[in-house]
């Protein structure tokens, strides 16, 4: 729950709600970017961020993202994060 995972912002989906789409280890997920926004949201596209429970919490550079992903992968955290995201999607669709 506390580790967070790097994701790349690929699209701004709802400017008013500060929502974007991030690609996390090949999976696309809605994330809130309020904590890393410091200008027009469009400028975030292509940027990497540490994603934590659906919020982009800190910007990181691409190298850092790659290193962190490799470490999380070893820790089994990447898989866990992806499973939690899938569980979240299932909960929304009532598949529980």
């Amino acid at each position: 729950m506390c580790l967070g995972i790097p994701g790349q912002i690929v699209e701004i989906s709802d400017e008013a709600r500060m929502m974007a789409v991030a690609e996390v280890s090949g999976v696309r997920r809605a994330v809130n970017v309020a904590c890393i926004a410091d200008g027009p949201l469009d400028r975030l596209i292509g940027e990497w961020a540490l994603i934590h429970v659906g919020f982009a919490m800190a910007r990181i550079d691409e190298d850092e993202a790659a290193q962190t992903l490799a470490a999380l992968h070893e820790l089994g955290e990447t898989q866990e994060a992806l499973e939690q995201m899938a569980a979240g999607d299932a909960a929304l669709e009532g598949r529980v």
């Binding site: 729950m1 934590h52 429970v53 800190a58 089994g76 995201m85 979240g88």
Partner: protein, 378 residues
């Protein structure tokens, strides 16, 4: 167990282990008289065991696992209250998966779900908000749990709910803070800690000045660390270097993610939505002053305790710990998990008595899964 040669940067890992060994020798740390370094964060505990750092490091350095796992420190009374909320027919109870197996006094959330309660594991509080939008005739309660890393996300979700006027969303708030339990540990006359590894992602939110008191008032070094094995080794080296020089400062090893003053948007959201509770109960540690957050009056409509008349809104209930369970002593570093009389007997991942055995960041789970530290092998 891992070997330093398997690390992504084995040369760096070996060099760090060597430098740590030299420093440990220089300050006279031995297996019999080790330097005790507490890693506060459960994420670090998990990394230490996963990479076998406890076994690779010089035997004069002993890791003490701190209370930094929010699932582990959740008292049974709060789990019971979660279950009561979840079992209300109008409620959809949403939670992070980590909390599902934590034992309450009669059952865990996973058992309550099997018994028919509508409990859904979500990835984010935003999923809970979306469920509230899609189910206007139900009450969606989000189980807000975690340290400063997750507190802003719940705060931002509550602000969003308020902007939309979502009337069927509320948060059962169990957010807690890192500095206060550390202060409680340092005030404990039996505590023997020579230094701290500070939590990286909590610090990403609050910066590192909230730890100034550890260095200034208690004279202990603290180094905020990242989560990779070399981050942790480098941080241990930084702590030992301070000890050798007779210094006590707050240092930041994780500068690539942790800004000195934290994240201003997160801090503003936390301050807008939450205030400190006078005190909060921790499993195994008892009441700690100003260590928990509650929702401010301005957002009262989103406070599940107020809405459903439960928890601190009506008074704290006393639920004793299980007989013989030593969770509190493990979380304060007084004993190792294997020294708990219940470890591997009454308490296994399948029959857990304490959350430390079921949380992915729990020390007992780590000992169980990775075979434990040097002391466990003895």
């Amino acid at each position: 167990m891992k070997f330093a040669s398997e690390f992504r940067d084995p040369k760096l890992a070996r060099a760090l282990l060597q430098a740590i060994a030299e420093k440990a020798d220089a300050i006279g740390a031995t297996r019999e008289k080790p330097v005790h370094i507490m890693e506060i964060c459960g994420g670090h505990t998990h990394s230490i065991f996963r990479y076998g750092l406890d076994k690779l490091i010089h035997e004069g350095v002993e890791f003490i696992h701190g209370p930094g796992c929010p699932v582990c420190v959740l008292p049974r009374a709060r789990v019971d209250e979660c279950i009561e909320l979840a079992e209300r027919p109008e409620v959809i109870f949403t939670t992070f998966g980590d909390a599902m197996r934590v034992p309450g006094s009669t059952k865990s959330l996973i058992q309550a779900k099997a018994d028919g309660a509508d409990i859904r594991m979500v990835y984010s509080p935003l999923d809970a908000l979306e469920l509230a939008r899609r189910n206007p005739d139900r009450e969606v309660v989000f189980f807000g749990l975690g340290f400063e890393t997750t507190t802003p996300s719940t705060a931002l979700a509550i602000q969003q709910a308020a902007r939309e006027g979502l009337a069927n969303f509320s948060v059962f708030c169990n957010h807690i803070t890192v500095p206060e339990p550390i202060k409680a540990l340092l005030d404990d006359p039996y505590m023997m800690l020579e230094g701290f590894i500070g939590p990286g992602h909590v610090s990403m939110v609050i910066g590192f000045h909230p730890y100034d008191f550890i260095a200034q008032d208690y004279g202990k070094p603290i180094v905020v660390a990242g989560f990779e094995p070399t981050d942790l080794l480098q941080s241990v080296l930084m702590v030992l270097t301070q000890i050798e020089a007779g210094q006590a400062r707050v240092e930041n090893q994780y500068g690539r993610v942790v800004p000195e003053h934290g994240n201003s948007v997160s801090i503003a959201a936390i301050n807008d939505v939450y205030e400190k509770r006078p005190s909060f109960e921790w499993r195994g540690l008892g009441e700690i002053d100003a260590s928990g957050m509650r929702i401010r009056d301005a957002y009262r409509a989103y406070d599940a305790e107020e809405k459903f008349g439960i928890g601190y809104a009506v008074g704290r209930r006393e639920v004793p710990e299980v007989e013989g369970c030593a969770c509190g002593q493990v979380m304060t570093g007084r004993i190792k998990p294997t020294q708990c009389p219940q470890f591997g007997k009454g308490c296994t991942p399948e029959t857990a008595l304490g959350a430390l055995m079921v949380s992915s960041e729990g020390a007992c789970a780590a000992y169980w899964q990775y075979g434990g530290a040097r002391t466990a092998a003895e």
